[in-house]
């Protein structure tokens, strides 16, 4: 009697009469034979529960009706608002509480005996109740799963029941979890949709056990059905009732216990790979696949988490298992494979990983030790997948509503795939190309162009290029305008990209363009080509010329050289020219000869392209001139004056850093006022900026630079002429300046413009820029200005060459009249004051004088004897030079240069008064210069003799 005092009993021994009375009372009450009050009935029920064990079935059945009634009231209350007051069923709740208290105490005292009884009772009752009231209006309001749960949990009866059930579970879970889970599953199958909330609730109370058990139950069921139906198993998987409820339960638990589910699935999978796995466990993999086919959540787990675990070792094991276990009939394995493919097409987030995995496995270059079967199988899967996708994607054109999760997911990873395509060469290219095509087709034109652009700008090798071409061909069938868009996207990227990638991207573009040039034939002229598309983006490419990375710049200039430029707006022309000229001078600074050579040849090509329009050639000329006279570039072209004062500073730092920094901004799109766009004036704390220094160039380098510069200027001045005579140009590509002047006429207009530029750059003001030459005395007025002009020429020796070039034009030099005048005036003043014995003792001045006269002669300013005076200077004394120059001045004063004249040399004639000085000078030096006399005078017998 030790146990008699436990729990519910009061330790009293009831007489048989009492028990009989209570039985009678209970039976009468519960069968409504006589009116027994609710409380009394409950009392006798509970009495019987603890005194008459054999009556427990009846009591529990009675409790069923009590709970049912309570739920009914609850639902009624919901339906009618609270109009039905609780008076109608006053004590139902207390009855429920009492009885649940009893049952709870029973479970606590002897869980082994009571828990199975009560758990199956409560679960069945819950199932019954929830399906019974599911159609009621009150329950219908709770449409969502959570609301349903909410509704049932607020109802006392159901809450009590579920508490009881979970108590039973708690006590059974340690010893025999199969019992409760089986009951749960059966109920779940029986009362399918309405019972879900119970499963979910219980599941969330015991996630670990429930999930594992549910999976095991499913596996058993799957095995059983699978083996009994053999071939038809795959198709009829949906018919296995427990599978559905397994999936349903897991689906409910996924929200809160996703991690647990994940773990359980992984554990299941891992167990199946143990060497001692049973036959049941060996069919885990097909089971999991089928599960996944029924639930996207599980599929997600499978695709995201499982792929990580599939190491070569495991794959080999799986292959072995598959071969061993099934000795598969061909059809069976086929259907399994098609299931896998189907799942992959359905996979969402993890799709990228899956694809990546499959590619890795099929890639023969991977040194993983895989069984050949695995590799072959993966290849089959991948190929089937590609085919399937092709079918679906193209069918989707007709019906755009079709969803294709894999492509959706791959869309976001498309660029990674592209990178894959680029980095992993040949082996996976074919499949990847196809795959990318379908992704592109699926996700619309903008994404397609993104993908294409990515491939385009990353393709370096020829086979990657082929991928691009393939994809373009395929995509153009769907999106005819894809190419321009793609190029646009690529160019946009170019501007967003950070500094380093630009070169690569441009290289990619360059590859394509070069390929097109080499392969595009006459018949395909109508076809849209990349280079044609690029024509719209020339300014953007040109901005890359200012890039700090020389490779990028080179790529940009090469690309520009490949593109045929058409008419552009002035602003674009200005931008392009500006960038180009900056680049050009940067190239000159470079010490890498190969780089310089290739860059310069491209530069010439670009200039040729640019100068098709006169505006462009003028702008270019102007920028070139400005660049040449700019302080930092002067050194490159032979300017030496500045160097004298700067010997102490660092040699390498040629350009002002700040200017460079600000130039960088032009590479990317104009930024809003960010700190990076603010021009700053140096670094605080480092004091004054150190003066920049030029580098000392060799004479050869200087000459080469000069030649390059003048070459460009020359091309500019050629204008359209080159197109009329391309063969000449072709021949002189490297040496455009030497001796070709007479073959090709330079454009007078261009030369005029050049001349005006020169004036503008050298003359400090416009006041005395008239063409005519004033009195000699007037030199004293303009002395400062003249000195300045001379100084400019001294510091930029290349200007002499430019002037030389100008002088080849018929009357272009006229515009330089004021400069010539200024230099002349300076020289006259110098020689006037010079007290040297010989003019040759002042070599600089002498050279200047000679060159000046040479130019004037070439430009047709001077008639025959006058034009030769320069030749005499080296042997003359300064005074004689002075005299001769003055003579020239006088001639010029009387015969000012007239630009309109067609042929100056015919119009100009030398008056005798101008030759007298020459004659006198020759006479005084007749001892040494006798042989020259004839050159000056005897050649013209008709010339009038001096009086």
């Amino acid at each position: 009697m030790a146990a008699a005092s436990d729990g519910a009993g009061q330790g009293m021994v009831y007489t048989s009469q009492e028990i009989q009375d209570q039985v009678r009372c209970f039976v009468q009450g519960s069968t409504y034979k006589s009116k027994v009050s609710c409380e009394e009935l409950a009392k006798s029920a509970l009495f019987l529960l603890r005194t008459l064990p054999s009556a427990r079935h009846a009591v529990l059945e009675h409790l069923c009706t009590v709970f049912d009634e309570s739920v009914n009231t609850h639902v009624l209350q919901i339906e009618l608002g609270s109009t039905i007051s609780s008076t109608a069923m006053p004590n139902l709740d207390s009855v429920i509480q009492d009885s649940s208290g009893f049952l709870m105490s029973f479970i606590k005292i002897n869980p082994g005996a009571w828990a199975p009884i009560i758990s199956s009772w409560s679960i069945n009752l819950l199932g019954h109740i929830s399906s019974k009231y599911a159609e009621r209006r009150g329950a219908l309001h709770a449409s969502g799963f959570n609301e349903l749960l909410q509704m049932w949990m607020t109802c006392t009866a159901t809450k009590t029941l579920i508490d009881l059930a979970s108590e039973c579970f708690a006590s059974l879970i340690g010893s025999s979890p199969d019992v409760c889970v089986d009951a749960l599953l059966e109920a779940s199958v029986k009362y399918s949709p309405h019972f879900d909330w119970v499963v979910a609730h219980l599941g969330s109370c015991f996630p670990q056990t429930i999930i594992t058990r549910v999976l095991m139950c499913g596996l058993k069921d799957f095995c059983y059905h699978g083996s009994s139906q053999s071939d038809a198993a795959i198709s009829s998987v949906q018919n296995i009732p427990k599978m559905a409820s397994v999936v349903g339960i897991l689906g409910h638990l996924a929200g809160q216990h996703g991690q647990d589910i994940r773990k359980a699935l992984l554990a299941l999978f891992r167990d199946s790979l143990r060497p001692d796995a049973e036959r049941l466990q060996q069919s885990t993999t097909p089971f999991l696949l089928h599960l996944a086919s029924m639930s996207s959540m599980l599929l997600h787990v499978l695709t995201t988490d499982f792929v990580h675990t599939l190491t070569p070792d495991i794959l080999n094991k799986l292959a072995y298992q598959f071969v061993q276990q099934k000795s598969p009939s061909l059809q069976d394995s086929k259907s399994l494979l098609s299931l896998v493919v189907h799942l992959i097409t359905k996979s969402g987030e993890g799709a990228y990983r899956v694809i990546q995995f499959l590619l890795d496995v099929t890639d023969l270059n991977c040194e993983k030790e895989l069984v050949p079967e695995v590799r072959a199988t993966c290849a089959i899967i991948l190929d089937t997948l590609v085919l399937d996708l092709q079918r679906i994607v193209h069918r989707r054109c007709a019906d755009p509503s079709t969803e294709l999760p894999i492509l959706q997911a791959l869309q976001s990873n498309a660029l990674k795939l592209c990178t894959n395509l680029v980095t992993h060469g040949d082996t996976r290219q074919k499949r990847l190309t196809k795959l990318l095509c379908y992704v592109a087709i699926y996700s619309g034109e903008s994404c397609a162009s993104d993908i294409l652009a990515h491939v385009l700008i990353h393709s370096r090798e020829i086979n990657e290029l082929s991928a691009f071409v393939q994809m373009t061909t395929e995509l153009e069938t769907r999106y005819p305008d894809i190419l321009p868009t793609t190029v646009g996207v690529a160019i946009n990227k170019l501007q967003q990209f950070n500094m380093l990638d630009g070169g690569m991207m441009l290289k990619g573009l360059l590859n394509v363009v070069q390929w097109e040039r080499n392969s595009v034939h006459q018949d395909s002229k109508d076809k849209i080509s990349v280079s044609r598309c690029l024509q719209d983006h020339i300014p953007a490419i040109a901005t890359q010329l200012s890039h700090s990375d020389p490779i990028t710049c080179l790529a940009a200039i090469q690309l520009l050289a490949e593109i045929r430029m058409h008419k552009m707006s002035t602003s674009n022309v200005t931008r392009i020219c500006g960038a180009f000229v900056t680049f050009f001078f940067k190239v000159l600074k470079s010490k890498d000869a190969v780089y310089v050579a290739s860059a310069l040849s491209c530069c010439r090509e670009v200039v040729k392209q640019l100068t098709r329009s006169p505006t462009a050639s003028n702008t270019l000329l102007r920028f070139l001139m400005e660049g040449a006279t700019a302080e930092e570039n002067a050194v490159l072209l032979g300017g030496r004056e500045q160097l004298s004062g700067l010997s102490t500073s660092d040699i390498n730092q040629l350009e002002p850093a700040l200017l460079n920094a600000n130039r960088e901004h032009s590479v990317s799109l104009a930024l809003p006022r960010a700190h990076s766009s603010v021009f700053h004036a140096g670094i605080i704390g480092q004091g004054l900026k150190t003066r920049a220094v030029g580098l000392l160039l060799t004479k050869e380098k200087e000459l080469a630079n000069k030649q390059a510069f003048l070459g460009l200027v020359w091309i500019c001045c050629c204008g359209n002429a080159q197109s009329q005579n391309p063969s000449v140009l072709q021949k002189d590509g490297n040496e455009p300046f030497a001796g070709t002047i007479h073959n090709i006429r330079l454009l007078p207009a261009a030369l005029n413009y050049l001349a005006k530029c020169l004036v503008e750059l050298t003359a400090p003001d416009v006041v005395y820029n008239a063409l005519h030459w004033p009195e000699e005395e007037f030199m004293k007025v303009t002395i400062e200005r003249d000195l300045q002009i001379k100084k400019t020429f001294d510091s930029n020796p290349v200007l002499w060459d430019v002037m030389d070039l100008i002088s080849t034009g018929p009357s272009s030099l006229c515009f330089c009249s004021c400069i010539i005048r200024g230099i002349m005036a300076t020289l006259i003043a110098y020689w006037d004051s010079s007290r040297d014995k010989m003019a040759r003792n002042s070599p600089k001045q002498l050279e200047a004088s000679c060159r000046l006269l040479d130019c004037m002669a070439k430009g047709g300013f001077l008639p025959v004897p006058l034009c030769y005076v320069g030749e005499l200077f080296p042997i003359l004394s300064p005074f004689e030079v002075y005299q001769l120059l003055l003579n020239v001045w006088r001639y010029m004063k009387d015969n000012p240069p007239i630009p309109d004249t067609e042929d100056i040399q015919i119009a100009r004639d030398c008056d005798v008064k101008y030759t007298q000085t020459i004659r006198a000078v020759l006479h005084s030096n007749i001892d040494s210069q006798g042989q020259h006399y004839a050159r000056f005078f005897s050649a013209e017998p008709h010339q009038p003799q001096p009086q």
Binding site: I19, Q20, V23, R24, V27, T31, T51, L52, S54, A58
Partner: protein, 402 residues
Amino acid sequence: MDNLRLHYLQQLDFPECTKVGLQHIEEYLSQGSQRSGGGGRIPGLGGSTSDNPAQQIAQEFVFFHTSRRPYHQRLSAIQELQVLEILCNHFHEQRDSKKAMALFDVLFGNAGQLEVLCRLVSMGVAVQCKSLLYCAAIWMELQGCTSPNPTKLCKMLVDDYCLLVPSATSVLCGLPHISRRFTCNFMTSVTSLYPFSGDQCPPYALVEMITEWINKDPGLGLVSLTPADKSVIQKTQGRYGQVAQPWLSKVQTPIPGLAHWCIVAPLTQEAIRAKLDNRHGETAMETEHTNNTESKNLQIYSKLNVGIIQTMVSVNPEQSKIYLAMQDMFLLVKTVTGLIQQIANPTENDSVQTALDRLGQFFQVAKGTGGLQCDKGDLSRMCQSLPSNRFLEILQQQTEAS
């Protein structure tokens, strides 16, 4: 006439039809007894169940196992309880044990309604229905107390009263007051239910209860030795035919089973303790707990042992019957040997010695009171496989001396 009855019953509503049905069965049986008393019916030939009207009524109106009443396809649990109540009442009011037994035989004779029978007996215990339990006791004897059906019945009772509703154990405690015969058969069945194989020990409450019964009433274990009233069984003779025969020749008593418990219990305890010792890391509290239950168990089993010996001693020499066969003894020894083999160093182990002492006692008393017939060499053959024990050795010497 039979059809008329059935038809009449079919007109009645549920509880009524059962009540009236029972009356009709009784009526029919009493008529039948008259008829069979006239020798009209040959036992074992005429009584096929399907066309026996009593059986028909029982099936249709007590168990509701018929296709003829679709609306009553299966009784609900409450209705079943109602039926049980009616049956209980009916047996309660039936003072004539012959009639009661006849009715019982019609209802449960072919063991088709074991479930209902179990519940009915369980309820009968609670409501102290003497005649019902008497019938049940006879039924058990007819079936053979250790055969599956009676064992199942007893298991149900143990489950109900000892496991599920511990508060109702007191009801079961009063069992001897209701029916001594049933109690005796119950004990016999129960001992076969828990053979102490492995870890399956009988519930403590049950052992405690049985010990109390036996100690209070030493004759209780021998009730089944007294044959039941022949006339009661006569009617059922025809049905059981061959099954009834062993009952007449060999009577089953709880004594061998209970002795088995007492002898094996210390050994099992030892095995459990050894197992616990192997499992380290037990807290002091747990150890204490196991120690407590152990000492409690030891106590109760030695008490039970005393009870059994008393019972055996109380056998009236005139009526004494052989309740123990030498085969049983050998079987017991075999079990004991098996258990001892699992214990290290058996000769010095207290539990082993206790078990052997009890074995010796049991053998001695059984032999002395005439419950066991054996040859001279039997004891020494018995002791061959057992470790040495002082008491057994003395016994052997005595046997040899005599």
